[in-house]
């Protein structure tokens, strides 16, 4: 059987057309595909659900899309051990784990496990559960030359060897193909409540500090800030019914807020229409990011906000938002933008440690065939 088929017109990445598409159904098949691709010096981009294929820069060259649609399914769910092993092409939403959860909030419809790891996306509950790096306990990858390698394992506590899972998390497909991931799971909380307060932007800093001052251990502290007008702060608590009731009451009092069971429609959704940025800041400087004249949304409780960048004023707005974030001690990264905007902006901003990153790339992908140019510094 042929290892790949001819690409269709739909098989593009950032506007760059591919020549072939392969959809291996196992790690072994994927290794075979990648060995052959290496022999033919093919440039490769890995595609999951395609929900973030417009993130990063377009590849400098592209021959083969490796699609993970046939690499699906839960390999193992050890409920008593609170772990699961899952294939990379499995959709993140809709995992069936009775009484338990993989505590990663899906940020875009159709996102797969592999894409979530490779793009390191996170949602509101990162405050309570951390991000991919905190939950991924083992990884199986196929290197650009076709060699299969594993690191970590199936137990949460494990310090044997280098943790390649960390390296592949957020690597944008530039180091190899992720085929399987092992995750730590959490029990599904018995109860939850949301406490919501709308206030002028200049009050948000004080309200965030008020949340931190209470012993409520929030699962998420989110804000939704339109380009102008008041900001909505929403705090999620999870736990036992009695504990949640108590904590929600404390929050209502501290914030002068209302309790609700319903998550607002903007919860965990990116705020952008066409171009979006991720802005980070230390907790006390999150208010600095507000009042920038663009719509912002995200995890104020961890210092991660997303911005809707107006396309017509993009270069100036990107620079201004990035400068604000850097002054605050964080970063500003453009996640997605229409091609004509990308050409006029720096997507990533300053990247400390870039020289070491280039060396890592050179080791893992010496031919620079995997997602070339998609990542920081042209990696």
């Amino acid at each position: 059987m042929a290892l790949w088929t001819a690409a269709t017109q739909a098989d593009t990445v950032g506007g760059v057309p591919a020549r072939f598409v392969a959809a291996p159904a196992s790690t072994a098949e994927a290794a075979e595909v990648l060995r052959a691709a290496a022999d033919d010096d093919l440039a490769v981009v890995v595609r999951g659900g395609g929900s973030k294929l417009d993130w990063g820069l377009p590849p400098r060259r592209l021959d083969l899309i490796v699609d993970t649609r046939n690499l699906t399914g839960v390999v193992e769910h050890a409920a008593g051990d609170l772990i699961m092993v899952v294939r990379a092409g499995t959709p993140l939403a809709g995992l069936d784990l009775p009484g338990q959860q993989l505590a990663l909030d899906p940020s875009l419809p159709g996102a797969t496990i592999g894409g979530t790891v490779a793009a390191n996306t996170s949602g509101p509950r990162r405050l309570a559960y951390g991000t991919v790096r905190d939950l991924l306990i083992g990884i199986t990858v196929v290197r650009p030359g076709g060699m299969v390698a594993r690191s970590g394992g199936k137990v949460v506590k494990n310090v044997a060897g280098y943790d390649l899972g960390k390296l592949f998390t957020g690597s944008y497909g530039t180091l190899g193909l992720i085929t399987e991931c092992a995750f730590r799971l959490h029990p599904r909380p018995a109860a939850r409540a949301l406490v919501v307060r709308t206030a002028p932007a200049d009050r948000i800093g004080a309200l965030l500090a008020a949340v931190r001052a209470e012993q409520v251990v929030p699962a998420a502290v989110e804000i939704d800030a339109p380009a102008d007008g008041p900001v909505t702060l929403a705090v999620l608590v999870e736990g036992t019914p009695a504990g949640v009731r108590d904590r929600a009451a404390t929050l209502c009092k501290a914030l002068g807020a209302e309790e609700t069971d319903e998550l607002p429609p903007w919860w965990g959704a990116y705020p952008w229409a066409r171009a979006g940025m991720k802005l980070t800041a230390p907790l006390s400087r999150v208010p600095d990011l507000l009042s920038c004249g663009v719509a912002l949304r995200g995890s104020a409780g961890t210092g991660v906000l997303y911005a809707d960048v107006p396309v017509d004023t993009a270069p100036a707005v990107v620079e201004r938002l990035r400068a604000t974030a850097i002054r605050a001690g964080g970063h500003g990264v453009v996640l997605t933008a229409p091609q004509h905007v990308r050409e006029r902006i720096d997507m990533w901003g300053p990247v400390p440690g870039l020289e070491l990153m280039r060396r890592v790339k050179d080791q893992f992908d010496p031919g620079h065939r995997f997602a070339p140019g998609r990542f920081v510094g042209g990696i």
Binding site: A38, A78, R150, V155, K157, D163, L164, T240, R247, P352
Partner: protein
């Protein structure tokens, strides 16, 4: 002059005479870490005062092509800080400044020699603490914790060092100072910080570390439950986890470990217990109260014959004293012992304990079991008398057999002590040659010359000069082949 002597001269003139130790007697102070049966006198010891001096030391090593090993407090249990006889031991004990405590950002910035517990002490007045708590937290250093990705009793709920370190300035094996991560989350680019934490000193030396501070919990409740057998205690642990409770800690000790702890610190655990569990819950008051009732009931349902609830911090400390002193306490019941560190899936606990018992009986070697039951991290203590011929070898066999059991049950050869010198030989049992080769790509990116802590973690070093790449014969110009 030898290379090391020339290096000593250069470092003395560069850093000051008092920063460099070359006296044989003084060097011997540093001949081992917490795993004392491996001993190597270092060629030279350097005690830098700051990051710049640390970087200069590494650069001098690179120029002289001399290997270097970093050492914090020297409490590691896998020989990770075992010196190199022809190399430089870089000791961070003079780098002990707590640079900043920023509760408003839930961050602290510290130098690598800072003692783990001192971070908590510095943060407590503001209502915060540093969550990773290895049993050695009163003496171990943050730099060592970063190198080993140290855990502790409370990592069941709070995670390990890697989950609490969000930035580090490191000296690369080239001698450059590089910032990884930062004060804000999700730095763009590869997560080199995540890969660096736990790399056991083979990717460089942390010279400044930014850690996450955690809010002190509103409420802490600690329960000591005594069971007739480890099976019952294991079943209780599984029941607690299955009920959806995530305790801050679940610790187990078996009868022999209890006997040792009693002899050493008179912790007053219930008499006649075949196993004790310490279960700790922390968090908001209402949450803890609700879950504590559940946990108490589950222990009773699974056969606990005595339950004690710590009435105050003093009693809580006493519960923990027995557990935290267990390693040293074993010295009271055996002249020599090996501390093993392996991980199994939690649900395999009863079965693996029976298998360990069989191995122990078959070899005539006693094994005391202490473990972080909540996450399946075993610390079997293999007892022997080095004075009796053959016993040390038998103990080694038992210790190795326990590691094999961990692998057989899908676990790990180390949960928190690291691979270091001690377990490099076991790595091929857990990972394939391809896995190990792939891990070493990272090593080659950071340290192509292989000077940073050589001989640790990997049984066979990879030569970094040869970058494997499949080439077609037609691809190369014949002139290139010769």
């Amino acid at each position: 002059m030898t290379t090391l002597e020339r290096l000593a001269v250069a470092l003395r003139s560069g850093l000051g005479a008092d920063r460099v130790i070359s006296d044989r007697q003084e060097l011997r102070t540093y001949e081992c870490d917490g795993l004392a049966h491996y001993r190597v006198t270092p060629g030279l010891v350097v005690l830098p005062r700051d990051a710049a001096e640390c970087a200069r030391t590494v650069r001098a090593c690179v120029e002289a092509d001399v290997p270097f090993v970093a050492r914090g407090s020297g409490t590691g249990l896998s020989g990770g800080a075992l010196p190199h006889a022809d190399g430089v031991l870089i000791v961070t004990s003079k780098m002990r400044a707590i640079v900043e405590v920023a509760p408003q950002d839930e961050r602290a910035v510290v130098e690598p020699g800072v003692i783990n517990l001192h971070v908590t002490h510095a943060a407590t007045p503001a209502g915060y603490y540093y969550a990773p708590d290895p049993s050695s937290q009163q003496i171990c250093s943050i730099g060592g914790n970063v190198a080993e990705n140290s855990g502790g009793a409370h990592c069941l709920k709070y995670g390990f060092t890697v989950n609490h370190v969000i930035g580090a300035q490191i000296v690369t094996p080239d001698g450059d100072l590089v910032e990884l991560g930062g004060r804000a989350p999700d730095t763009p680019g590869y997560d080199l910080l995540g890969a660096f934490v736990g790399s056991e000193g083979t990717l460089g030396i942390a010279t400044r570390v930014t850690v996450r501070l955690t809010r002190l919990p509103e409420s802490v409740r600690t329960l000591l439950a005594a069971f007739g057998t480890t099976d019952q205690a294991g079943a209780a642990t599984s029941a607690i986890i299955a009920a959806g409770v995530v305790p801050a800690a679940v610790e187990m000790m078996d009868a022999l470990a209890i006997e040792a702890a009693e002899a050493a610190v008179a912790c007053g655990y219930p008499a006649g217990a075949g196993a004790v569990l310490i279960v700790e819950l922390d968090g908001p008051l209402a949450e803890v109260e609700a879950q504590f009732e559940q946990v108490t009931a589950l222990c009773e349902q699974n056969g606990a014959f005595e339950l004690r609830i710590a009435a105050d911090p003093a009693e809580r400390a006493l519960f923990w004293k027995g557990r935290k002193s267990a390693f040293a306490a074993v010295g009271r019941i055996s002249p020599d012992y090996i501390v093993q560190d392996g991980v199994i899936p939690r649900t395999a606990l009863p079965e693996v304990l029976h298998r360990i018992g069989e191995v122990s009986r078959a070899h005539g070697v006693r094994v005391a079991n202490v473990f972080h039951a909540g996450d399946g991290n075993l610390h079997p203590l293999v007892l022997f008398d080095d004075g009796v011929p053959g016993q040390a070898e038998r103990a080694e066999e038992v210790s190795g057999a326990i590691i094999d059991l961990c692998i057989e049950y899908g676990g790990s050869i180390t949960g928190e002590h690291g691979v270091g010198m001690d377990k490099a030989k076991y790595m091929p049992r857990m990972f394939t040659a391809d896995d190990l080769e792939t891990m070493q790509l990272l090593r080659c990116a950071f340290d192509p010359a292989g000077l940073a802590n050589p001989g640790k973690v990997f049984p066979t070093p990879r030569l970094c000069g040869e970058v494997p790449r499949r080439r077609k014969a037609t691809e190369a110009d014949p002139a290139e082949l010769f």
